[in-house]
Symmetry: C3
Subunit: 348 residues, 3 copies
C-alpha cells in the first residue's frame, strides 16, 4: 500500500506547463507523459510503451499522436495504438493507460484512482488563480521529502518565526495561539491565527506599503491530500473587521495556495502560488512577491530534505512529541489515514 | 542464481587491451585483474588478495608476478603465492583463482564456469576481426543496463529507424518483415531482413560512395549469450545476388560484431566492432565508420540506461507486449534460459 | 546489534574543535550536536528535536541554550526543554538525551552506553598530547569504511613497506617478525617490532636529522576499541638501549596516536596525532610531520575505502587467510567481540 490515498485528485501541472511538447512527470509513483493537442486538450498517458517499456516522453509528438522513440509504436490521445513496426495488424492489447484530467483554476488535476470513482465535482477550487481581480505569481520546487512532511510544515505556521525570519516570520506568529476546526464530512481542516497587533514582516510591508504594526490573519483551509489554501489578511492596526457581507476594502488580501503532490514515496512536487487583490498591475510587486515566496519555499525545502533523511534513518517506533500547535497537522494525518483506508477498502 | 549462464565463454577484453600493466575488469560479477606476461601470455586472476582482500589490480607487476599493494603477498601467473611478509613459510591455501583464457580473433575470451567443462572448440568465431582482407574499427562502451536489454536491442533492428535515423536507420528497416530461424542444437539464431530497394543511410553512402538506392541485407547470426554477428551486405539496386560459390564482388560487406558481456546484474560491457572488405587502407573511411558507429552505440546506451531504470522500478508481473519483430529476441531469451537451467543442473 | 561495543568510551572530538558554535557529528550511529558553554563545559545532545526531529545542529545557540531552528523548542545543556511555541506549559517528556562527556588529554570522550556504567577512570590515557614536553600535530580524516578495517590496518604495520613507501615504509618493516602480547584482563594488546639496523625512512630522517641507518622500535599498545598508541623510538645504529629507569635521551621518540571512532556501520572518524619529544619549537618539523602523516593517513583511507566496497560486496562465508603478522589484529577482534557480547549481556 502506498502512503497516499489513490482515489483523490492531485494537481499534476500548471495549465501553462502543458504544451505541444511532451513532458515527463511522475505523479504518485506513476510515470506519466503530458501534452496538449492542437485543439487544446490536455493529455496524460502512462509514460511507458507497451512493447519494451520505452518512456514515451523521450519520443516524438506528431499530429497529436505519440510515436515511440525506440521502435515506432504510435498512440493517440486515448492511448490507443495506431501503428506498430513491420506489420499491419495492431494487437488488441496494444494500449497505454490514459489518465483522467481536469483543467480548472489554471491547474491540471489528475485522477490516479479507480476510473468509475472519478467525480469532477469534488475537485477543490482556488478561483483566485485565474480571476481578473487577482494577480498571481507561482512556482514549482522539487522536494526530496515525503509529502506528509510538507503537510506538517504548512499546517503549523509557527515555524515562520524560526525558519522564515526576515521574510514572513515575526515573534507574534509563534506566540499567538491557534484555533482549529475539522469538518469531517467535507474533509476540510481550518486552522486560524488572528494577530491583532503584530510586526509587519518585509513580505507584506514592501508589497502593501503599510508602515507600522498590523492586524494579521492567517486562515488556513486545507483540503487533504492536495490543496492547501492560506487566506491571509493584513491591515494597519485599527482597521475595522470585514463587513457582514464580506466586504473588506481597507484590508489587503493574499491567497497563498500550495498543491502538495506526491512524486514518489520520498519526493514531492511543491506547487506554490501567491494571489493578491492589490497592486494588480505592479510588476515590481509581482517580482518581489515571487522572489520572496520562492526564498521561503526553498527554506522549507532545505529543512524538509534534511528531515526526510532523519525520518528515513529513524529507528522503528520513534515517538515524536506533539503540542497544541500541531492540532491541525494531526487532524490532517487522521483524514489522510481515513482516505487511505476507505480508498483501499473499496478497491478490495 | 545469477541471470547469465556460467558455463559459457565470454569476451573479457580486446587482445590489444591486455598489456604488461595490471587492468581491472569485472566479468559476470567476478572482479578480475588482467595482464600479459613478458612472453606474451594473457593472464586473469581473481582481483582479491587471499590475505585481506586487497584488489590485486591496485598492486604492482614485477617479473610477471603480482605483488599485493597492501602487504606484499606475491602471486605468479597461475595464482600461486610465492612470498608472504614477515615469514618464510607460504601457507598451502595461499592461492588466488586463475581463469582459463583463450585469445582468438583479436579477442580475449574467458571461462567463468566449471573448470572441467571449458571446451575451447566451442568458442564462436569472428575471423574477419584479424583477417588481412578486412579492416576493423572498434570500441567498448560501458552500459548501465542488464545484458538482456542489449540482446533485445540487437535482435530487433527495426529500432534503427527510430533511434538511429541519420546514421543507419531508414523507413525501410522498420517496414520490411524479417525471417527468423533457430538452430537449437548449435544454439544459434538467424534473423534476416532483405531490403531490395531501400534508401542508403549515411553510414553506408559515405563509406562506400554509392549514390542512389540500394539492396540492403541484414543477416544476424547470434551465438548466445555473448557473440552477435551482423552480416551486412549493401549494393546498388540491380546488383546481382551472390554467386553460388559465395563470390559477391560487386557488393560491399560490413561485418558488425558485438560481444555482450555482463559486468554485474545491472551493467554490461558493450564491445562493438565494424569490419569492412572495401577501402581497406582508407583512414578517412575508418575514422568515419568508427565515429558513426560509436554514435549509434551511444544512442543505444542512452536508451538502454533509461530502460534499466524503468525495468528495475517495474512492478512484479509486468507484462510487455511482443510482436513479429521480436521473434529473434524471444528465441534468444529461450536459449539463454535453457543454458542457465542446463548449466545449473550439471553444477548441482 | 551494532558492530561496535556500546559500553565503551569513544573519542568524539578534539577539545579545540568544540567551541561556542553548534557542531554536528555522528558517533556510533548516534547523531549528536556538540558545543561549549560560556563557562567552558563541553556538551553533547542528541541532534534531534523531540517535536518534529529537526537537527538541533542546524539551530541557534543563545545563552548556552539551543533554540530549534524549525519551531523554537529551547533546550539547556542537560537537554531539558525550557520553552515551546504558542504555549506556556512545557510537556514533561520534552527532553533530549544529553551524553556523558569527559575532556582529557586534549580529547573529548563520549559514553554512548548505559548511563550507570560510565566509569571515567577507565578512559585510556595519552598524556603526551597536552604535555609541555611534547609537540603534537594532528588531523581528522573521514573514512568510508567500517572501523574494523582501520583496526586491522593499524595492528599490522608490515603494510608500511607497500602502502607507505617513501614516507614511513622500508623493506625491514615487512621483513622483521613481531612479538604480540595480550593482557586480557586490562584489555590491552601489545605488538612489538624492533629493527636493530634498518633504513631510515624520510619521515624520521627529515624530522630528526639522523643520517644513515637506525635502530627503529615500533611498540603498539592498543586499547580496544578506540585508542591506539604507537610508541616509536628511532636512534642511530649503535645507540644504547634505554636505561633501566627509562631514561633514553640519545633516542628520538614519537608517539603516534589514533582514535578509531565508528561513525556509522560503514564509516569511521580517523583521528590521528603525532607527538614528538624533539625539535619542540621547530615549526618546519611540525609542518613536515603533519603533512607527511596526513599523506600516510590518506593512503590508508584510499585503500580502506576500496576494501569497504570489496567487503560489502563479498559473498557470505568468504574466508580470508591470516598469517603471523595478523596475530595482533586477530587478538583485537577477539577482545572487541567479547566487549560486544559482554556489553549486550548486561544490557539484556
Amino acid at each position: 500500500m502506498s502512503s497516499w490515498p489513490r482515489n483523490q485528485w492531485y494537481v499534476a501541472a500548471y495549465s501553462a506547463e502543458v504544451t505541444e511538447e511532451l513532458m515527463a512527470r511522475t505523479i504518485c509513483g506513476e510515470p506519466m507523459v503530458f501534452y496538449r493537442t492542437s485543439d487544446g486538450e490536455v493529455v496524460a498517458l502512462a509514460d511507458r510503451c507497451v512493447h519494451r517499456r520505452f518512456p514515451l516522453s523521450k519520443s516524438h509528438l506528431v499530429d497529436d499522436n505519440v510515436i515511440c522513440g525506440y521502435h515506432g509504436f504510435t498512440y493517440d490521445r486515448t492511448g490507443t495504438c495506431l501503428a506498430a513496426p513491420g506489420q499491419k495488424r495492431i494487437p488488441r492489447t496494444a494500449r497505454v493507460p490514459a489518465f483522467h484530467l481536469l483543467e480548472q483554476d489554471s491547474l491540471v488535476w489528475v485522477w490516479i484512482g479507480e476510473t468509475d470513482r472519478a467525480d469532477e465535482s469534488t475537485v477543490p477550487r482556488a478561483p483566485w488563480l485565474d480571476s481578473p481581480d487577482y494577480t498571481t505569481v507561482r512556482g514549482l520546487e522539487p522536494l526530496k521529502a515525503r509529502y506528509g512532511l510538507l503537510v506538517d510544515n504548512l499546517m503549523d505556521l509557527s515555524h515562520e518565526t524560526y525558519l522564515h525570519g526576515g521574510y514572513i516570520g515575526t515573534p507574534e506568529v509563534a506566540e499567538t495561539p491557534i484555533t482549529t476546526e475539522v469538518d469531517d464530512e467535507a474533509q476540510v481542516i481550518y486552522v486560524s491565527r488572528h494577530m491583532d497587533d503584530a510586526a509587519c514582516p518585509p513580505f507584506y510591508a514592501t508589497s502593501t506599503g503599510i508602515e507600522g504594526r498590523i492586524t494579521r490573519w492567517q486562515d488556513i483551509e486545507y483540503h487533504p491530500p492536495c490543496l492547501y489554501l492560506l487566506h491571509s489578511r493584513v491591515a494597519p492596526v485599527g482597521t475595522p473587521d470585514p463587513a457582514e457581507d464580506g466586504r473588506d476594502e481597507p484590508a489587503f488580501h493574499v491567497e497563498v495556495v500550495y498543491a502538495i503532490t506526491p512524486e514518489t514515496e520520498h519526493s514531492t512536487h511543491d506547487f506554490w502560488m501567491v494571489a493578491r487583490d492589490f497592486a494588480l498591475e505592479d510588476q515590481g510587486v509581482s517580482d518581489f512577491l515571487a522572489e520572496s515566496n520562492r526564498t521561503v519555499v526553498l527554506q522549507d525545502v532545505e529543512a524538509l530534505d534534511v528531515l526526510e533523511v532523519v525520518v528515513e534513518g529513524e529507528k522503528e517506533n520513534y515517538q515524536e512529541l506533539s503540542i497544541n500547535i500541531d492540532t491541525g497537522g494531526l487532524a490532517a494525518r487522521r483524514i489522510i489515514a481515513r482516505q487511505l483506508t476507505k480508498g483501499e477498502a473499496v478497491t478490495a
